[in-house]
């Protein structure tokens, strides 16, 4: 048992030494350092691990960066910024509104008609500028999750039996709006639709009756997770209701609508699988020894 313990600790300490570092000199590595000092095989093993580790560390950075990535990231930041700006704007508006509720001083006597016309013209221009700014803001403001949810519910309510194409060789699922996330379920049919400014959006129907909408929105949808959430954004209020989960993957927004119990939604999205922590069961022999 003592020998096994010694070996497992030795291996762990050797593997924890970063390539090219002086980690081995640290207190925590005394056991490995001592054995390497005394045992030629242990020394060779350590050297081999260090060499391979150095090559692997280098290889980990060998990832080609796609062209235009920085531009796309900057564009995403730009798209997200107006949301914050709008919040600040709303805050200012609220502040001004509360200010205006304060008692106002008595009105001054009327001024000349020409002056009033001039004031009105300036006010109208200001309204125009603010209106234009708001319109621009609206164009740049990302879709909210609530918007996404509302649109998805609205178009799915309008679906009828027509327009669906059975998924077969004659009607393969469209390639431009593919399902980017693996879902547990058998596909039955698809149809095109329009969602979040995307007229090429696709609705997929599963055999269990669930519907998945896949679209490339004309603006970013703020705050969507990058995988199906285990708790859908809209949970059914009753057992026959619909759970709606939204996420983004591969640049496409996915909206999954599943009727029935929450387990059905979670089963499709695979979000119920338990996490099993790594622990060595007591009583198992130590398997470090070669």
């Amino acid at each position: 048992m003592a020998g096994e313990q010694f070996n497992s600790k030795f291996f762990e300490q050797v593997e924890a030494c970063r390539p090219g570092s002086n980690d081995l000199c640290g207190e925590d590595f005394a056991l490995a350092a001592e054995r390497i000092e005394q045992d030629r095989d242990a020394e060779r093993y350590f050297e081999r691990v260090q060499q391979v580790d150095a090559q692997l560390a280098s290889a980990f950075h060998e990832v080609p960066v796609p062209a235009g990535l920085a531009d796309r990231l900057l564009a995403a930041l730009d798209a997200a910024a107006p949301a914050a700006a709008k919040e600040a704007f709303d805050h200012d508006i609220d502040s001004e509104t509360s200010e205006s509720r304060k008692p106002q001083p008595e009105p001054q006597p009327a001024v000349g008609r020409r002056r009033r016309v001039l004031q009105l013209a300036i006010a109208a221009s200001l309204v125009g500028v603010v209106g234009g700014g708001l319109a621009l803001l609206a164009r740049l403001t990302p879709y909210s999750q609530q918007q996404c949810l509302a649109e998805a519910k609205q178009i799915s309510a309008q679906f009828n039996a027509e327009g669906w194409k059975r998924i077969d060789r004659a009607h393969p699922a469209p390639e431009n709006r593919p399902i980017k996330t693996r879902l547990n379920g058998s596909l039955k049919a698809w149809r095109t639709t329009s969602l979040l400014g995307d007229d090429l959006a696709v609705a997929y129907r599963f055999r269990n009756g669930a519907t998945l909408l896949v679209c490339q929105p004309s603006k970013v949808v703020s705050g969507l997770p990058l995988a199906p959430p285990s708790v859908p954004q809209q949970k059914a209020q009753q057992s026959s209701g619909t759970h709606i989960g939204m996420w983004t993957s591969g640049g496409l927004v996915h909206v999954l609508m599943v009727s029935g119990p929450l387990e059905e939604y979670r089963s499709m999205t695979g979000t119920t699988r338990p996490v099993v922590a790594f622990t060595r069961p007591q009583g198992l022999p130590n398997r470090y020894d070669g």
Binding site: V52, A57, L69, D71, D289, G290
Partner: protein, 196 residues
């Protein structure tokens, strides 16, 4: 070896801005993107295993960075902070929660792959494939070890798990990775012999 540093990387289309995010000047998230998008993307790629997901994680990471810029404690070297955000985004959105079988990996002196000749490199795709086969708990520690060059203590502190767990996971993860790469080497050599 290329350690993870705060050395700026050039953007494909952005001609300027390099070095403007140096210590002392206020850090702007756009500058972080220009300087460090490559390292963020590479880490995201190693964790997710594909370009689309890696871009999503990188985008999410920079959005998070923008929202929490006040939490950046070391503006002169923001890379570790960015890497932590990338890991967090990946953990929240992509981890597969695959169970780890206890005792599934043996450690053996003989299974350490022979180092490659200096001019050779571990194949990019084969390394990724081997990495993708690891359970997420292993993939995370091994990526922090090799990519971020984090010590076992740093890994333990950042992941908030005991040091003993880190050492154990690290040893098994590295062993499994090498074993898979060695198997691939043998398979490739066999295939090459067959085709000749």
């Amino acid at each position: 070896m290329r350690p993870v540093t705060s050395q700026p990387q050039s953007a494909e289309s952005s001609g300027g801005g390099q070095g403007e995010g140096s210590a002392g000047s206020p850090v702007d998230v756009r500058q972080l993107v220009i300087d460090h998008h490559a390292v963020v993307y590479r880490l995201a790629y190693r964790l997710t295993g594909n370009q689309a997901d890696a871009e999503d994680v990188a985008q999410q990471a920079f959005l998070q960075a923008q929202q929490h810029m006040h939490q950046l404690r070391t503006p002169e070297n923001p890379v570790p902070w960015l890497c932590a955000i990338v890991r967090s985004c990946w953990l929240k959105s992509f981890r597969r929660q695959r169970p780890v079988a206890a005792g599934s990996v043996d450690l053996n002196v003989d299974e350490v792959a022979e180092p490659l000749a200096d001019e050779d490199q571990f194949d990019f795709e084969r390394l990724q494939s081997a990495l993708d086969d690891l359970p997420d708990e292993y993939k995370l520690v091994v990526t922090m070890f090799y990519f971020e060059e984090a010590s076992y203590k740093e890994i333990a502190a950042q992941l908030e798990i005991p040091i003993g767990t880190v050492m154990s996971r690290l040893a098994r993860a590295k062993s499994q990775l090498r074993k898979r790469l060695t198997e691939d080497e043998v398979a490739a050599a066999t295939e090459a012999r067959r085709t000749h």
